[in-house]
Amino acid sequence: MTQAQSRLGLYLLMAPLMLWLLLLIIIPHIGMFLVSISVKTGVRQYVTGFGNYMVFFTEPLYWNTFARTAFMSIAATFLTLLIGFPVAYYIAKLTRGRTKTTLFLMCLIPFWVSELVRTFGWMILLRETGIFSSFLQYIGVHSGPVEFLYNDAAIMIGLVYTSMLFMVVPLVTTLDSLDDSLIEAGYDLGGNGISILREIIIPHAMPGIVSGCIVVFMLSLGNYLTPILLGGKDSLWFTGLIYSQFITRFNWELGSAFGFLLLGLSSTIVWVGLKLSRQSLTDTVGR
């Protein structure tokens, strides 16, 4: 095969990826950016400027929602890690063969139904006339119906539940690759459970922890359905704000600016997270 032919082959193989990147990522973002820097001055009259971004900083509701979304997403990520790590450790290290496969599948099963149905499932449990409320009334803890929905805790439960798999999978993969004899050597040299977790298991699992955290954080930050359904009208989630700018208020310019701010926010937080954990993107998500 000649040089030119092999190069043609390479281009052809790359074409679908390149087209996908260009058509679905790059062009829409350029378009969005152009929309976001057009400030409306009158009917069909626009000037270029950063006015839309200024609106965000001058209106407290906007940046409060923004900060709240970021904070809640970080909290959800940590909570998912806290719950997911023991689960992943149990699956990877303490079970073998069929049990392992079964447990792994059980983590996957909730994802066979759509996110909407899953979230409605939580609503059935948590609403005023739901199972928890009825149970509390039945055993006599509470006299009237209790509303568990439409608060931050409900949003948190939904976010953690939706993200769990994306934390457990990378953790199981990295923990699986940890040689059992390293843990045994740790005990043999006088280590206890805590020091082995801190000095051996967590450093080994760090790429998986970071990769799981990045995915869960991105999913939480960009989640629309769960915060709106479980948090109700007052959920104040930034994606909800973007939605209302585009759909309810037809203010595409401000919506686009919000979109870019969200992109900037997620990139910044992921970058800070990588720096703090001394990991690189290629070591974690790129594996």
Partner: protein
């Protein structure tokens, strides 16, 4: 020696140790003592229970019954991180997430030794294993032999009463393995610590150990020095497993005390001794003759009054330098025999098809009763 042979004279003592795995006896009533400062090997084929035994000493598994004493103290129910033993793992289990100093200092950190002391003791022990100044390097920057020494240093810095080694030379290539054998023996005598070494490689055990236990099917077949095991094996298994041997199934033709005459099914007559089992005419026996115990000669009268004298045809020459062998076919019965070639140059020109006299002593023909 005789008066202080109390329980405390041993660094490690096992008393009737058993280990059952769902009805399968992995370790079957094993008792032994390892005197302080010696190199003790447990030699056996894979699946003989030696790893289970070692893991019980380290504390990763509990014996089903029996007692395990280290320096006279029972270790039953003591967690592995509280036992005064350290283990060098089969694949060394060095922590890849730490540099070498952190690896070696791990155990001291767990004990709460002050930071400056750790640094000092780590550097000292690294010097003793011949790796001064490597502390800041990463594990993957070391060669196989260096990793081996770091793994030993990581254990020795804790000054354990007993160091357990689980076939640590298995992953090395042949040349390095030969080198590390000598190195390990040297380190053991320098540190003066009791080493318990398990291996399936007889040459590792023979070269390094003061005492060797040969293990098979969960039981100790024989415990002794390398020479004892090689020259006076007590069981057919030890005779076949330690060193090389020509093995024959034969029927006893005549027996006078220790001395027996046997005949193989092919009709080869063998004169041997039966040191352990009392054999009678008609008994079936396993007969072992070491290739290096058989002498070669071009004329029959060179042997004098040797008990076993035969003629053989050279069938094959397995040239391997100092360790060369010939495969002979005995002329009368057609029985096969593996004979080591003496390295005196006398038989350098031996060729396929040559006829040669072979002779060996009855003393070197060890017979054991065949079971069943």
């Amino acid at each position: 020696m005789s008066q202080n042979k109390s329980a405390t004279a041993y660094d490690l003592e096992c008393q009737n140790i058993n280990k059952d795995f769902d009805g399968f006896k992995a370790v079957d009533d094993v008792s032994f003592g390892v005197p302080a400062g010696t190199f003790f090997s447990i030699l056996g084929p894979s699946g003989c229970g030696k790893t289970t035994l070692l893991r019980m000493i380290a504390g990763f598994q509990e014996p089903s019954s029996g007692d395990l004493l280290i320096k006279g103290k029972s270790m039953i129910g003591v967690q592995p991180n509280k036992r005064p033993v350290s283990m060098v793992f089969q694949h060394l289990a060095l922590f890849p997430m730490m540099d070498i100093a952190a690896n070696v200092g791990f155990g001291l950190r767990q004990r709460g030794v002050p930071r400056e002391d750790i640094a000092k003791r780590v550097e000292t022990v690294l010097e003793r294993v011949g790796l001064p100044g490597v502390g800041s390097r990463q594990i993957n920057q070391l060669s196989g032999g260096q990793k081996q020494r770091v793994a030993i240093a990581r254990c020795m810095v804790l000054e354990p009463d007993v160091l357990l080694l689980d076939e640590p030379l298995g992953a090395l290539d042949l040349k390095l393995r030969e080198h590390m054998k000598i190195e390990l023996k040297k380190l053991q005598s320098e540190f003066g610590t009791t080493f318990v070494y398990i291996t399936h490689d007889q040459s590792e055990a023979l070269v390094m150990s003061d005492q060797i236990a040969v293990m098979n099917h969960g039981k100790f077949e024989q415990v002794g020095t390398a020479r004892e095991l090689y020259h006076t094996p007590n069981t057919a298994f030890v005779a076949g497993f330690v060193g090389e041997a020509n093995k024959y199934e034969a029927t006893v033709d005549a027996a006078f005390g220790d001395a027996v005459t046997l005949v193989t099914p092919e009709g080869m007559e063998l004169k041997g001794i039966s040191p352990v089992s009392k054999l009678e005419k008609g008994d079936k026996a396993h007969v072992f003759v070491r290739p290096e115990a058989v002498r070669l000669a071009t004329e029959a009268d060179k042997f004098g009054g040797i008990e076993n004298l035969n003629t053989g045809i050279v069938e094959n020459i397995l040239f391997n330098g100092a360790n060369s062998h010939i495969i002979l076919r005995e002329e009368k019965s057609g029985g096969e025999m593996n004979v080591a070639i003496p390295q005196t140059g006398e038989f350098r020109d031996l060729n396929k098809g040559d006829k040669i006299f072979i002779g060996w002593e009855a003393e070197q023909t060890r017979c054991y009763r065949a079971e069943g």
